[in-house]
């Protein structure tokens, strides 16, 4: 496999579209970007004169701030739009919003949207590069990339790592992007959750699916916990928080079955006492805050690779 020097697409819509060499390229670039964050003056001119629009139709704190910070560190001009304060509330369609933005000639549009495929719709309308910051239940590619960067930093590799992903798998775009990325890169992925929250199609990716948390975490190098939304507790997915925590909550005792140097990840926001015990979230295994720091670096890398000057 030859090293990639650029991304094939001008969009980042999904991990499914990326070759392993492109994933390596993004992660290697992120390592360089991370160094910038340690400087006194945390800014480089890579995207000077470029315009980036952050289009957040769905609530987001860390992803939105992470993209904004990444853009600022690269010296891009940025604009942010959230659904609440935009013409979306006046009934404008996504396509029309996209055309309006297009008229302002942005170089990159970062979009978070509750509908799966919304970034793809934008990519058929806009000349700008589209970066998917999470679309419905589909994908969250930069999350999977920052998770991969965190794992690579801590474990030195991705190939051969044993990774358990636990929680509401069905509704999780983080699960889909991570399952795609980790299997592409040669990791062994186990997905664990209640049978009502397991999506179809994981086995075909080579993911081992189990409903037993003990089986999932046995000897693993990484445990990635997924958020379980409170509203799932009131439908027909799960009987109660209490039972969920009993069966799937990550506690120090559960972690004893994992590898001795296991790390625990969570894309946030966490529900303490629902999917994760505070003793784990705040414990020595936790790399949750590393993930946040790496998020900025990975987003800088993605933006740079999609819109930055060619390295001369």
């Amino acid at each position: 496999m030859t090293a990639a020097t650029r991304l094939q697409s001008r969009h980042l819509l999904s991990i499914a579209d990326l070759e392993p060499a492109e994933i390596d390229l993004i992660l290697d670039t992120a390592v360089a970007m991370k160094e910038i964050g340690t400087r006194t003056i945390k800014k480089v001119p890579a995207l000077r004169g470029r315009t980036v629009v952050n289009l957040f139709f769905e609530a987001s704190t860390r992803t939105r701030l992470s993209f904004e910070l990444a853009e600022k560190r690269l010296s891009a001009d940025t604009m942010g739009i959230t659904a609440a304060g935009s013409s979306v509330t006046k009934g404008e369609t996504l396509a029309d919003t996209a055309r309006t933005l297009e008229a302002m000639s942005p170089d990159i549009i970062v979009i978070r949207h509750a509908a799966s495929g919304a970034p793809h719709l934008l990519s058929t309308i806009c000349r700008a590069g589209i970066v998917n910051a999470g679309d419905g239940m589909h994908e969250h590619p930069t999350q999977a990339l920052l998770d991969a960067l965190t794992m690579r930093e801590r474990k030195g590799r991705l190939a051969g790592l044993k990774v358990a992903i636990v929680g509401d798998l069905l509704h999780s775009r983080v699960l889909r992007s991570n399952a795609l990325l980790l299997t592409k890169m040669g990791a062994e992925v186990r997905a664990c959750g209640p049978p009502t929250l397991i999506p179809l199609g994981l086995t075909a990716l080579g993911v081992h699916v189990t409903t037993s948390l003990d089986e999932a975490v046995k000897d693993v190098d990484v445990v990635m916990m997924l958020r379980v939304q409170r509203e799932r507790m009131h439908g027909m997915f799960l009987p109660s928080v209490r039972e969920y925590f009993t069966l799937f909550g990550l506690t120090p005792a559960r972690l004893e079955r994992a590898a001795s140097d296991v790390i625990v990840m969570h894309p946030g926001p966490m529900n303490r006492g629902v999917e994760i015990d505070s003793a784990v979230a705040d414990g020595p295994w936790s790399v949750i805050l590393d993930q946040v720091a790496n998020g900025v670096a990975v987003r800088m890398a993605v933006l740079y690779l999609l819109a930055g000057e060619e390295l001369s």
């Binding site: 499914a16 396509a95 799966s116 495929g117 719709l121 419905g136 999506p199």
Partner: protein, 448 residues
């Protein structure tokens, strides 16, 4: 366009008319809008002669028993005039239109309005289908006798299922008095939920909420049991799932009066298409959804073994603006009238799944018989509703060139073999296909 009084003879073409037991070369004489003679070497008696080009096939007029004409109420999508012209261009001489208009066709006055508009348009014949319940709300049964008297040929709450087993039972019992079928849009609402695509690996990985095949078959099983109980006639609309086909076969084997239809997109496409291009093409969003390959193959097998009674298009026009939305938000449905004949000829007849004779059964004889409407066969003295096919003509489907008011077709750019050459309704040649060489022979003499 030929006039009603114009006498002409379609000479020497291959006529495929299974109900009349005909498959061979015959002359057909048409005068005063009716078939006046069928036979070998008919005397011409001064009538205009149309020498049917070699390879063309004359069939009884095709009938699409599942069409949404959108009028009254949603004329920005389609009107009765544009929809029936789309039918004619697609080779259909008659269509049955679904009652989910605004207002719903739940009273004789709406039925009469539809009949009047259809008559004014003067294209394909229109057979309205009435609602089972007022407003299709699932509470109170419509005045089926009144609706039947106004011209309705069947009843359905299409767009959604008949809400309760009790209402379906009563409808089957009551409609039996008029010898009309109940047509069911089979879908368990709780299993469908907020689903927008077939529940399978494709929708799962695309992050789209799924609709399992059993959402359809569970409702079909309910209805087949109720048809068995009541002796009524149930017709399963736009069947898509292999489990439903199994339920229909079981019902038929028990002697239940159950029939079913399948739309072309359910035997030509599967859910993998949702990944094509940028993905999430909303012209691939319909209800029931494109199923997985096993279901598509089951439908093909259902054609092969004769379990499927009818091909209908579920022609569901939507404005481009309505489809240019996020996949979750776009409406269900695609147009089908003008793509049906090429898809069926190419993928079923030329593929060796069915014969031309069976094609005519599925698209003409069987829907006519089910709805107890005229046509489905060519009979001396009856209206001359005739479709002329050019089964070997190459076709490239162009969505932008469709005459339907809406262009929401997933088949844009498809290259197929088999076209409609001409469409004759009541003895008038309403359409000749300019893309088919020789079709212009069917056009009448140029008018001054």
């Amino acid at each position: 366009m030929t006039q009603v009084g114009d006498a002409f003879v379609l000479k020497g073409g291959r006529v495929v008319d299974p109900r009349a037991g005909r498959d061979g070369h015959f002359d057909i004489r048409i005068e005063n809008g009716r078939v006046s003679a069928i036979g070998k070497d008919l005397p011409l008696d001064g009538a205009r002669v149309v020498e049917v080009p070699a390879g063309f096939v004359i069939t009884p007029g095709l009938i699409d028993m599942h069409v949404h004409l959108r009028e009254p109420g949603q004329e920005h999508k389609e009107t009765i005039a544009t929809g029936t012209w789309s039918a004619v261009v697609g080779g259909f001489t008659g269509v049955a239109c679904m009652p989910n208009t605004e207002p719903v066709n739940d009273s004789a006055s709406v039925t009469q309005f539809i009949m009047k508009r259809a008559s004014e348009a003067g294209f394909a014949r229109v057979y309205p289908i009435g609602a089972v319940s007022i407003g299709s709300m699932g509470d109170q049964m419509t005045e089926m006798g009144d609706l039947r008297g106004a011209g309705c040929v069947a009843f359905t709450d299409d767009g959604k299922p008949v809400a309760t087993a009790l209402l379906m039972r009563r409808a089957l019992e009551y409609a039996g008095m008029f010898d009309v079928p109940i047509i069911e849009h089979c879908e368990d609402p709780s299993l469908k939920g907020a689903g927008v695509a077939h529940e399978g690996a494709v929708a799962s990985m695309l992050g789209l909420q799924g609709i399992p095949g059993v959402a359809e078959s569970i409702m079909a099983e309910r209805d087949i049991s109720l048809a068995e109980l009541t002796g009524g006639r149930i017709h399963i609309a736009h069947m898509s799932a292999r489990q439903t086909l199994r339920a229909v076969r079981d019902g038929k084997s028990r002697g239940v009066q159950v029939t079913c239809e399948v739309a072309p997109h359910h035997f030509t496409l599967n859910d993998e298409a949702l990944r094509d291009g940028a993905g999430y093409n909303t012209n691939l969003k319909m209800n029931p959804p494109l199923r997985e390959e096993a279901d598509r193959l089951a439908m093909v097998e259902g054609f092969r073994d004769g379990s499927i009674d009818v091909i209908s298009t579920d022609h569901a026009p939507h404005h481009a603006d309505e489809k240019a939305l996020e996949f979750d938000r776009a409406p269900f449905g695609i147009v089908g009238l003008e793509t049906c004949v090429p898809l069926c000829l190419d993928r079923l007849v030329h593929a060796g799944v069915i014969s031309l004779s069976r094609f005519v059964e599925l698209l003409s004889a069987s829907p006519a018989a089910l709805l107890r409407i005229p046509g489905g066969t060519l009979t001396v003295g009856e209206p001359a509703d005739i479709t002329v096919l050019a089964p070997d003509a190459p076709v490239t489907i162009q969505a932008s060139a469709l005459v339907s008011k809406s262009k929401n077709s997933p088949f844009d750019g498809w290259q197929l073999r088999g076209a409609t050459a001409a469409t004759i309704v009541g003895g008038r040649v309403l359409y000749t296909n300019p893309a088919v060489s020789g079709a212009d022979r069917f056009a009448g003499p140029a008018k001054s």
